[in-house]
């Protein structure tokens, strides 16, 4: 798939080259070049902030289309729990799962089942105490990517379990193989996602070579069809349902509450996550065993590929969770899931390094300060970089020029205008046609 795959893409026809996304990006990954936004691959963490903030809807996540499920003999949908509060509370979980199934699937398995498994394994780990405190959840791929590029000291704190959506896929496929007798490759597992980061994870997994998920469908793309099915359905099918704890993962704090320790910290919204990680990196936060960090405000229910506003969704989740408490949990066949620990290790990819050669980098720091002091400090974004500091950095990195700054350009124009005025005042005698001066007077 190439070294970088990012699901967040730009529709150039809609992009105005404004400053909204370049300023919102938490890793300063976007620049405007040739009047269009350009995302720097190494810095993008697929958090979807740019999708959220673009007023022209030029940013989107590429996801797969529902038609792709037809490439498989047996089709399984694994929806994220964030799907439930997209619909009004008069629809039950089983209503919604039935409506999803009617999209053309043979089976539907809740991702929250796998979340229950991760909670179980996390509790075991926390109980044993054999981990670097604080343990940081790996459920949010954008946060894992953030750690990779910006927080090297926290790599060893990451909980190295596969995320629930991946585990659900393994579980779904193995169960289906057992049930249908089909070959594993004849079974299509499709994840219904609230976010772009999970799409990226599936195409380019962390901790393993290849995902068990065949395709990722966005909640936004399926919403209207599911709604239509909900209104058509008379009776809901029966499903094995997860506990309320698994569904609660969709809310910020949900995973933390099931982690087996009360000494947890739950943070949501990528800017807040960055602040907290900086504190943790400095050893400024004490007594915390577990950190749940989600890039989206209020958690996955606030993902960029959801439909409902997050406060309505939060309210609906209350009832969904309350109803779920009345249901006896389904027994999950944990043996089918196998080892959920990462097979591959994760590398730190330092994006902030100015140069491979430390001495050159040190010189660049000095140059950067000089350049920065000459810039107006307005962070206007007109140069295509998010801040004056970023422009100074871009200049030393060789990807921008001082004249990109329109204020510096205006200063230069004024300078040139002055020079021109001076020149204009000094006409050579041959051209000097000032009317009042007579030749006799001059002599």
């Amino acid at each position: 798939m190439g070294e970088y795959f990012h699901s967040v893409r730009l529709d150039e026809s809609k992009c105005k080259g404004c400053t909204n996304c370049i300023k919102k990006c938490p890793t300063e990954a976007i620049r405007v070049r040739k009047s269009k936004a350009r995302i720097t691959d190494e810095r993008c963490i697929d958090c979807g902030e740019c999708i959220r903030v673009c007023p022209y809807h030029a940013k989107r996540a590429i996801t797969d289309s529902i038609e792709e499920i037809n490439e498989f003999k047996y089709k399984i949908a694994i929806p994220a729990p964030a799907i439930y509060p997209q619909f009004k509370n008069n629809f039950t979980r089983e209503d919604i799962l039935t409506a999803v199934k009617r999209l053309g699937f043979d089976e539907v398995l809740e991702v929250s089942m796998a979340a229950d498994i991760v909670s179980l394994k996390t509790r075991e780990l926390i109980d044993k105490g054999e981990y670097n405190k604080p343990l940081i959840s790996s459920a949010c791929p954008a946060v894992v990517a953030l750690i990779k590029v910006m927080f090297p000291n926290l790599v060893d704190n990451i909980l190295k379990f596969d995320p629930p959506f991946e585990i659900a896929a393994t579980l779904a496929r193995k169960t289906a193989v057992g049930k249908t007798g089909l070959k594993p490759e004849e079974i299509g597992v499709f994840f219904i996602s609230p976010c772009a980061a999970k799409v990226t994870w599936v195409k380019s997994p962390v901790g393993k070579d290849k995902s068990q998920i065949n395709g990722v469908l966005s909640i936004t793309d399926l919403y209207l069809k599911i709604l239509s099915n909900l209104h058509n359905n008379d009776k809901a099918d029966k499903f094995d349902l997860s506990s309320f704890e698994g569904i609660r993962w969709a809310n910020s704090g949900g995973e933390a509450l099931s982690s087996g320790t009360e000494n947890f910290l739950a943070v949501d919204g990528i800017a807040n996550v960055i602040k907290i990680f900086e504190e943790i990196e400095n050893d400024n936060i004490e007594g915390i065993d577990f950190v749940e960090a989600l890039a989206c405000p209020s958690g996955c229910i606030g993902g960029p590929l959801t439909v409902e506003n997050v406060y309505t969704a939060k309210m609906r989740m209350k009832k969904i969770i309350a109803d779920a408490k009345n249901i006896k949990n389904s027994q999950i066949n944990i043996d089918l899931v196998g080892d959920i620990t990462w097979g591959n290790s994760i590398e730190y990819k330092p994006i902030m390094k100015l140069d491979e050669n430390m001495s050159v980098a040190m010189q660049k720091i000095e140059d950067m300060e000089v350049i920065f002091n000459g810039l107006p400090g307005l962070d206007c974004g007109a140069c295509g970089s998010p801040t004056c500091h970023a422009l100074a950095e871009d200049i030393v990195r060789g990807i921008a020029n001082e004249t990109d700054c329109i204020f510096k350009l205006r200063d230069k124009v004024r300078e040139l205008a002055r020079e021109m005025m001076d020149l204009e005042a000094k006409m050579p005698p041959v051209m000097d046609k000032e009317v009042d001066v007579k030749l006799e007077d001059k002599v």
């Binding site: 090297p152 990196e281 400095n282 050893d283 390094k353 100015l354 491979e356 001495s359 040190m362 010189q363």
Partner: protein, 141 residues
Amino acid sequence: MEGNVLKLKYLIPNNDFLNVGMASSNMKKVLKQIGVHPSKIKNASVAMYEAEINACIHAGGGNAEIEVYPYKIIIKIIDNGPGIPNVDLAMQEGYSTASDEVRQMGFGAGLGLPNIKKHADEFEINTIAGEGTEVTIIVNF
């Protein structure tokens, strides 16, 4: 840049408890941009942060003067505060001369100087009662 040293200077404001830590935070950013190993960045940041806090809460602020070499960093935190009368006592874990107001804010646990010792490769305190203190922290890369 003279020789192979990058010089950084930061102001440590007086009694600005809510914003203290800006100097060590800025230094950390520079070290990331130079490509210093993450564990070394952590050592330098934690050590400097503790010295910075001390200057802020005990000495009315001060200055951070830093020299970054390819193979090490020398951090000097200089203040014109009251000085440290008994350095050995100050180095004891739990010993603190912080006021009640400062302790209420969560500072003054008495672990700052020991924490610097833990994270620095070399650590020196030069202090004159009534004149001020200069803390020197060296972390080798």
